[in-house]
């Protein structure tokens, strides 16, 4: 029973990170109908930038208090990623808005390769150990353990998601975003500056990605230039699972995927009599993705999407 609970807790932690990243995919998809393939790399950049800031401040000997270091690192990561998201849209997607659908997808792959290589040149190929700003103290919860860092991840993600929902539903910007997602042409006629809204979407999505990057690297204690790719892929799966273009869907999808993965990895050994082990964890995300697309292409919460020809 405690193993079961443990896997549930691990799944929730993992799932909240997926949900944060998935929101970025789903927001862009909802507005542009485009998969921002480079989004996972933005997460990676966020993690590595925050790591460098932490190392710099801790090594500077200025004696800056730990919470301030954390806040500065997070701020640095968020601002770098916002700039990155803005530029990616400007350079790689905006000129191709009227091009065939394959075109922006291919430039997105190009951006992804570029970001990865540049990150590798800056931070090297090695795995960086992320210094623990908050010493992880384990708490027991009904036979399972959860660290305070993990609790923090869940709480921060929940707060950010609530904030995003507020932004989208109760502000002028949010209303413009929803209008653009509904119909860009009509929204433009109603006086919405479409280009500004699209830029804003990318910027917000990238900020979420930066936070996710910081959270995930502090959870595992590891960051490296290749971490964004698989994470991005899984977050995308989460977005599809929940119904792409749908914000609550991305959150539900993220949490669900986290649970499926951690429960799957925990029990696959028992289920297959030891034939398949926990290193098949990554397979689950892809299997879920394929199953969802086959049986319910609109996702769990998605509405019926008309075929875009």
């Amino acid at each position: 029973m405690d193993i079961f609970l443990q896997q549930i807790l691990n799944g929730l932690v993992l799932g909240s990170v997926y949900a944060l990243v998935a929101l970025g995919y789903t927001m862009v998809y909802g507005i542009l109908g485009l998969i921002n393939f480079a989004h996972g790399e933005v997460v990676m950049v966020g993690a590595l930038v925050s790591l460098s800031v932490v190392e710099l401040l801790m090594g500077s000997g200025l004696g800056i208090p730990v919470p301030a270091v954390g806040a500065l690192a997070l701020l640095a990561a968020i601002s770098v990623c916002m700039g990155l998201g803005f530029s990616i849209e400007r350079v790689a997607y905006r000129p191709l808005r009227r091009a065939p659908r394959l075109a922006p997808l291919i430039t997105a792959i190009g951006v992804s390769i570029l970001l990865q290589t540049v990150a590798m040149l800056i931070w090297g190929r090695r795995y960086h150990t992320v210094p623990a700003l908050i010493p992880p103290t384990p708490h027991t919860l009904g036979g399972a353990t959860i660290t305070n860092v993990q609790i923090l991840i869940i709480v921060v993600s929940a707060l950010i998601m609530a904030g995003l929902m507020g932004l989208v539903h109760f502000t002028r910007l949010g209303r413009a975003m929803r209008a653009t997602a509904e119909n860009p042409v009509v929204a433009g006629l109603m006086g919405v500056n479409i280009n500004r809204i699209i830029s804003a979407t990318f910027i917000i999505g990238s900020a979420l990605a930066a936070i996710a990057g910081v959270l995930v690297s502090s959870n595992y204690g590891i960051a490296h230039y290749y971490m964004g790719f698989v994470l991005g892929l899984k977050a995308f799966t989460a977005a599809v699972l929940g119904g792409i273009g749908n914000l609550p869907g991305a959150m539900v999808g993220g949490l669900l995927l986290g649970l499926i993965e951690s429960l799957g990895a925990g029990y696959i050994g028992d289920l297959t009599g030891g034939f398949l082990g926990s290193h098949y964890q990554d397979v689950f995300a892809f299997l879920v993705l394929i199953m969802v697309l086959v049986f319910r292409p609109t996702g769990l919460l998605g509405e019926r999407v008309s075929e875009r020809a």
Partner: protein, 368 residues
């Protein structure tokens, strides 16, 4: 002087005799190429050309799926892996089975085609970007299985890969060692070159014939507008599956040949970036244009090697140290090339004439 050249060129292209002579010249040039390369820049370059020919086959296979049928496949390298492992497992000491190559290449091809259909069947209803992600996932699944199927029963030997794979031998002439024919020594790399060239030309021929066939036109129709294609009486399901199977077949054959050339396969050779490299070749060369795709493959397979041999020494000389290792430089250039080509020359370096017309004429209706 220039007029002479033009007249000669015209003669080669138009005159019946000129055509034959031109063709003969090309054949002779291709036949002596490995010897010229070995004499001038060393045997490694013959090997590089061997690999470039394999990439050309892969690019042609992917071109059927992406270029003709317009289905973006980001896991194409999985079929290459299937072909390579089929060959490796059945012609190596790993299982102690040593089947001849003429059995294994078709086996690899059929197996790859089967996987192509397995991948295609559930994804038929998906379009564009969804399909891209699913195929990407599929490619990763294959790689993860290859990496982990060494326990509890050792099937693929895991990350260590399969070693000591038999080299192709035709009529007792093994490609593993140097053979002397008519007094000329032919090293194994040269023999592989001739075989690969033959198969690549064959694949090219098949692709060109396919393009103009009923099936090829059906693929293009699906690419342009699936619903309209369906309305015209095309069985889109079967035709799309055929595209997947066909593309996968070429990948499987190329995989088998790769095993023979390398004598060693491991899951590392089939990472996602390999799929993307092949996609780059198709996109840069000119999606849907057979000659363009081959050009793209040859360029992208040989240029990085050229960089490897020039970029590092050049940096050493100019800056005193190597700042960009060739591998990173290659990836940087790949990424940049993908973006720039899409922005500036969306039809590729050498687009097919019809495609160029489509893309330059003003679009009446974009994607909304």
């Amino acid at each position: 002087m220039r007029a002479d050249w033009q007249r000669l060129l015209y003669w080669f292209r138009r005159d019946a005799r000129g055509r034959w002579i031109g063709l003969a010249l090309i054949v002779v040039a291709l036949a002596v190429l490995p010897f010229v390369l070995e004499a001038s820049v060393g045997r490694t370059w013959v090997r590089i050309i061997d690999l470039a020919l394999l990439y050309a086959m892969l690019a042609l296979g992917l071109n059927i799926v992406v270029g003709f049928a317009g289905l973006l496949d980001l896991g194409y390298i999985a079929f290459y892996a299937v072909g390579a492992y089929a060959y490796a497992l059945l012609a190596s000491p790993h299982f102690g089975v040593h089947l001849p190559w003429w059995v294994l290449l078709p086996v690899g091809a059929v197996l790859a085609a089967f996987f192509g259909v397995v991948l295609g069947a559930p994804t038929l209803r998906l379009r564009g970007d969804y399909l891209a992600i699913v195929t990407l996932g599929f490619g990763e699944i294959i790689r993860i299985f290859l990496n982990n199927l060494n326990a509890p029963i050792n099937i693929t030997n895991g990350p260590q890969g399969v070693n000591l794979i038999d080299t192709i031998a035709i009529d007792g002439v093994s490609f593993a060692k140097t053979n002397t024919l008519l007094g000329i020594p032919f090293p194994g790399t040269h023999l592989h070159y001739y075989l690969f060239l033959l198969i690549a030309v064959l694949v090219m021929f098949v692709c060109m014939r396919l393009e103009d066939s009923r099936i090829g036109r059906a693929w293009v129709a699906i690419r342009e507008d699936e619903i309209a294609a369906q309305a015209m009486g095309i069985n889109t399901r079967n035709i799309k599956l055929l595209a997947f199977a066909m593309g996968a077949t070429f990948g499987g054959v190329a995989g088998g040949l790769f095993s023979s050339l390398q004598g060693f396969v491991s899951p590392e050779s089939f990472a996602v970036w390999e799929s993307i490299t092949v996609l780059c070749m198709v996109v840069l060369g000119g999606m849907g244009h057979v000659a363009g795709v081959v050009l793209g493959a040859l360029l992208l397979a040989t240029l990085p090697e050229l960089l490897r041999h020039t970029a590092a020494p050049l940096q050493q000389q100019l800056l005193g140290k190597v700042i960009l290792d060739p591998e990173s430089l290659r990836m940087l250039l790949f990424g940049l090339a993908l973006i720039l080509v899409m922005l500036l020359r969306p039809a590729g370096l050498w687009p097919s004439p019809t495609r160029r017309r489509e893309l330059t004429s003003t679009r009446v209706s974009g994607t909304v």
